[in-house]
């Protein structure tokens, strides 16, 4: 190979190494579409314990709940001795793994800082964070289509901070920076003296120093759609800037010696790694626990284990207790489903918050409910009416295939008034923003608008509900609401009739609604209304990519109501009676109200039915709000609970408007008959599945490889944010500061925050979310289930690696079985039976 080829080959190898190094960083979605993700998702090829150990060494995280949490739970009998026995009796603990001891824990500059007391790494962090934020905010002048590194390279000679640090001699080096970011990385690694075999480890630790910015870069490089707007901060560019700083600063710090292209620098400091690694792992001795309180057999085994092994046992005991209760309650014969023919059927998202509404709705009237992922099998790119942007309404595991459009039902005067009103509102905002930043105007603008702002502030703080009503009334008068329709047009990037029928069939078959249709079927998406909440998108529907689910529901209803769709469905064996009407709705999970859309598309014959349904939904919602109000902090007892809950959604000072998906624990794939009438406490994702209409397991596979993965992500995000709030959670919401509209930092600057804020996980006084791994419960023939798992590596990784637990039974007469990590199944028995066994065996 000639030199250009050599160079290209070095670059391609580097790209692969960067990818490998970035595996321990989770992608960080922008605030406009917050997605809960398993922080160790790209380490899932390793078993859970191994991945956690690896991450603890490089990212510095805790992968298990703290000893004090377990102590508390033991004291309150949430973990019993039986649970501990059962956990000890289960599969042996897995610990460590190949290659872990080879991990380099520090970067070259970190070692130098330790040895000599310099601050190269911290300075690099600060400068990279500063430029990343400025770049994403569009403040760094860029040339067309250039990336972060090119823009940085152009502006860096003018940066007074760097000029000061580098001094006269160092400044000249800035002009020598390579034009290509890959070359900059190679040069930087060379200057730091990192040999090729240690490159991945070095780059991994480089990224791990600021998982927020690295996560954003990873999102942009690996997950973001190419048409995603905004400045693009790619992973390679980010590393190029980082390494350029590190190289320049280390050269300046060592006065040009020791680090220049020689591995001596690297080798000299490598010895520092050895000392910390000899720290012994601590034995489990939780505070506030009397060791003598444990029965002898448990004590013997448990306290002989090392810290990590004991943690695994405690965690399994914690999870086992919940699993036993859940499976027990599913076994109990509860006459949950009414025997009448349902007056309406309702399909809700699998979100745990729908569970409560479904339970109350079924109690209030003869309704049959189903659970299905909130995008209703339509991966669409939706264009809301009158908006410039289109929204991807599908899980992030998919790219949307087709487009839908929202159009006014009658293009009349009201429609244009509405558009004009919204333009006026947007124009006023822009005018205000521009005047705020212009040369002369900020001063008078501030004082003049202050006299309006003051009373508004007071009104919003003291009377949030009334203010919200007033504001929406004003908005409505400026831009009157218009009846619209969401449809798809094959000539305009939309779905053809056949595609529509295919999606409809998928949806109906997957959830098992293929016959006995009621006259009214409600497709209910969900969203959350909160005020002044940077994480508002985290409370919306994850299956719709972090957006509200109403549009998907409306599109699905429109498709299912079309005569042509029904004809095609009939050809495939699904007969929808002519009298059945599909109707779309949206459940606002903050206020527990359901709004039903597109009444103008519903024939008059069904209006009464809808009125009854709406009234029943209101009653069910009120009951659910009362139930939730007991758990929300700050709710005054005795006063109107429903009104208080609703007020939280309009209150700009409210940091905990709803608990979201906190306390989520299980994902149940079964017909509703299995779970009806059981109070699952809003902790379970419920996906309807009828094995009898799914002979080849396609529906089961669809459910397990998409909705279950989404549920796992949510569960893992909540789990890791709870067990390591310092690194993997977004910290205290009260100091959050939005940067460039894409992320938050805590306080003045620094790293972007990953994960969920503390207010979503903890309440004052205790840990609200129970950190345990998702338990998937499936009712399907075992052969089918095994076949599905065996032909999908992602499921093998999740189940074998103990990222997700699996319990299954063939049908409602069967007993539950638990799947072990080697693929075998064992009968489930409650932990109490272990005690009996011990006592009988002596």
């Amino acid at each position: 190979m000639n030199t250009t080829d050599e160079l290209l080959a070095a670059r391609t190898r580097l790209l692969v190494q960067v990818d490998e190094a970035a595996r321990l960083i989770a992608p960080l979605w922008p605030l406009s579409t917050v997605i809960a993700v398993n922080p160790l998702w790209d380490l899932r090829q390793m078993p859970f314990a191994e991945a956690v150990t690896y991450a603890s060494r490089v990212l510095g995280i805790c992968g298990y709940p703290s000893p004090s949490l377990f102590a508390e739970e033991y004291a309150s009998q949430r973990i019993t001795n039986d649970d501990l026995r059962a956990a000890l009796g289960d599969c042996p603990v897995t610990h460590g793994g190949k290659g872990i001891s080879d991990v380099v824990v520090l970067t070259a500059t970190e070692r130098h800082d330790l040895a000599h007391g310099t601050e190269i790494a911290a300075t690099t962090d600060r400068e990279v964070a500063k430029w990343s934020a400025a770049f994403l905010a569009g403040m760094v002048p860029t040339h067309a289509a250039s990336g972060f590194y090119t823009a940085w390279r152009a502006i860096i000679p003018s940066d007074p901070t760097l000029r000061r640090i580098l001094g006269k001699s160092g400044r000249g080096r800035l002009a020598e920076l390579p034009t290509q970011p890959e070359d900059a990385i190679l040069l930087g690694l060379d200057r730091l003296g990192v040999p090729e075999e240690d490159r991945v480890a070095e780059l991994a630790r480089q990224l791990a120093r600021m998982p927020g910015w690295a996560g954003h870069a990873k999102w942009r490089s690996r997950w973001a759609a190419p048409y995603q707007p905004g400045p693009a901060l790619h992973l390679v560019d980010y590393l190029a800037v980082r390494l350029s700083y590190e190289a320049a600063l280390s050269v300046a710090a060592t006065n040009g010696e020791g680090a220049m292209g020689s591995s001596a620098f690297y080798q000299h400091h490598r010895g520092l790694d050895e000392a910390p690694r000899s720290c012994e792992a601590r034995r489990l001795e939780p505070p506030r626990l009397d060791v003598e309180a444990f029965p002898a057999d448990v004590r013997e085994e448990l306290f002989a284990l090392s810290g990590a092994e004991a943690a695994q046992v405690w965690l399994r005991a914690y999870e086992g207790h919940y699993r036993d209760r859940l499976l027990d309650s599913l076994n109990t014969e509860v006459d949950g489903l009414s025997t009448q023919t349902p007056s309406a059927q309702a399909v809700f998202c699998i979100d745990v918050r729908s569970e409560g509404l479904r339970r109350h709705l079924e109690a209030v009237g003869p309704y049959e409910t189903f659970g299905f992922a909130g995008f209703f099998a339509l991966p669409i790119r939706h264009q809301p009416w009158g908006s410039t942007e289109a929204v991807d309404l599908c899980p992030v595991l998919l790219r949307p295939g087709s487009r839908t459009m929202e159009k006014p039902h009658n293009a009349d005067v009201t429609a244009s008034r509405h558009l004009r009103g919204r333009q006026v509102e947007a124009g006023a905002h822009m005018m205000f923003d521009t005047a705020k930043k212009a040369a002369v105007s900020p001063f008078i603008l501030a004082e003049a608008s202050g006299f309006l702002a003051g009373p508004i502030s007071a009104a919003k703080t003291f009377f949030p509900r009334s203010y919200a009503k007033l504001r929406s009334a004003l908005r409505a008068s400026l831009a009157p609401s218009v009846a619209t329709v969401i449809e798809t047009d094959p000539n305009d990037g939309g779905m053809s009739d056949e595609e529509q029928a295919l999606f409809a069939e998928t949806a109906l078959t997957t959830m098992g609604l293929t016959r006995d249709f009621a006259s009214l079927v409600l497709l209910c998406g969900h969203g959350s209304t909160t005020e002044n909440n940077p994480y508002a998108s985290a409370l919306d529907c994850g299956a719709c990519g972090g957006n509200r689910g109403g549009a998907s529901a409306r599109a699905a209803a429109w498709i299912l109501n079309r005569t042509r769709t029904r004809e095609l469905l009939a050809q495939r064996g699904i007969f929808i009676p002519g009298g059945t009407v599909f109707v779309a709705g949206e459940h606002d999970t903050a206020t527990d109200t359901v709004v039903i859309y597109d009444l103008h598309l519903v024939p008059p014959s069904h209006h009464d039915g809808i009125a009854v349904l709406a009234a029943d939904l209101e009653r069910a919602g009120a009951a659910l709000a009362k139930e939730r109000a007991r758990l929300l902090p700050g709710v005054k007892k005795g006063r109107n609970a429903v009104a208080q809950v609703a007020a939280r959604s309009t209150d700009w000072a409210q940091v905990q408007p709803e608990w979201g998906l906190a306390r989520n624990a299980a994902f149940i794939v079964a017909p509703r008959s299995v779970t009806a009438g059981v109070d699952l406490e809003g902790r379970c994702f419920l996906h309807s599945y009828d094995a009898s209409v799914d002979p080849d397991g396609v529906a089961l596979e669809t459910i397990l490889t998409a909705p279950m993965v989404v549920a796992h992500w949510i569960n893992a995000q909540y789990y890791f944010s709870t067990v390591d709030p310092e690194v993997l959670s977004a910290g205290d919401k009260t100091v959050h500061n939005i940067v460039a509209g894409v992320g938050v930092v805590a306080g003045a600057g620094g790293d972007l925050k990953v994960g969920l804020p503390l207010q979503s996980l903890f309440e004052s006084g205790r840990t609200y979310h129970e950190p345990l791994r998702l338990l998937t419960v499936v009712q399907a023939p075992q052969i089918r289930l095994d076949a599905v798992i065996n032909r999908n590596p992602v499921l093998r990784e999740l189940f074998d690696g103990q990222w997700v637990h699996l319990a299954a039974r063939d049908d409602e007469h069967d007993t539950w079985k638990i799947r072990r990590s080697d693929g075998s199944w064992v009968q489930w028995r409650p932990a109490a039976t272990y005690t009996e066994e011990v006592s009988t065996h002596g």
């Binding site: 190979m1 080829d5 290209l8 080959a9 670059r11 391609t12 190898r13 790209l15 692969v16 190494q17 990818d19 490998e20 890959e182 490089s221 690996r222 997950w223 390679v236 992922a373 099998a377 991966p379 599908c394 899980p395 595991l397 998919l398 790219r399 998928t506 396609v698 596979e701 669809t702 490889t705 998409a706 909705p707 993965v709 065996n790 032909r791 999908n792 590596p793 992602v794 093998r796």
Partner: protein
């Protein structure tokens, strides 16, 4: 094939790899200057890591994809280096073959 067919010889590279790695592959391809490529998602197959059933309706990333790219022979070597290092720790398949194309300027 003979001269009268007016075809130019190029190298075709096909990679079967997990859907999650497609963005990385496209990065490698643009690095070596490939002007275009084809991706077929949700393919199935059997390999050393087990059977991969491709038809996942709601998940593009956890099924296999097949990427086909055509390059002039001189540009292939650097790409192979990168792909080899990737497949050293990822399951996947790399196929390299000769191919003849009708519009060579298309692939320069």
């Amino acid at each position: 094939m003979d001269e009268s067919w007016a075809l130019a010889q190029m190298t075709r590279i096909e990679v079967v790899i997990g859907g999650e790695d497609v963005p990385l592959i496209t990065e490698l391809l643009s690095e070596v200057g490939a002007t275009g490529f084809t991706v077929v998602s949700n393919v199935s197959g059997l390999g050393h890591s087990g059977y991969h059933q491709g038809r996942l309706l709601f998940n593009d990333r956890n099924a296999l994809s097949l990427i086909t790219v055509v390059l002039p022979a001189e540009r292939v070597r650097p790409l192979l280096d990168g792909l080899r290092s990737l497949l050293a720790h990822r399951s996947g398949v790399l196929l390299v073959s000769d191919t003849w194309v009708s519009r060579p300027e298309y692939f320069q």
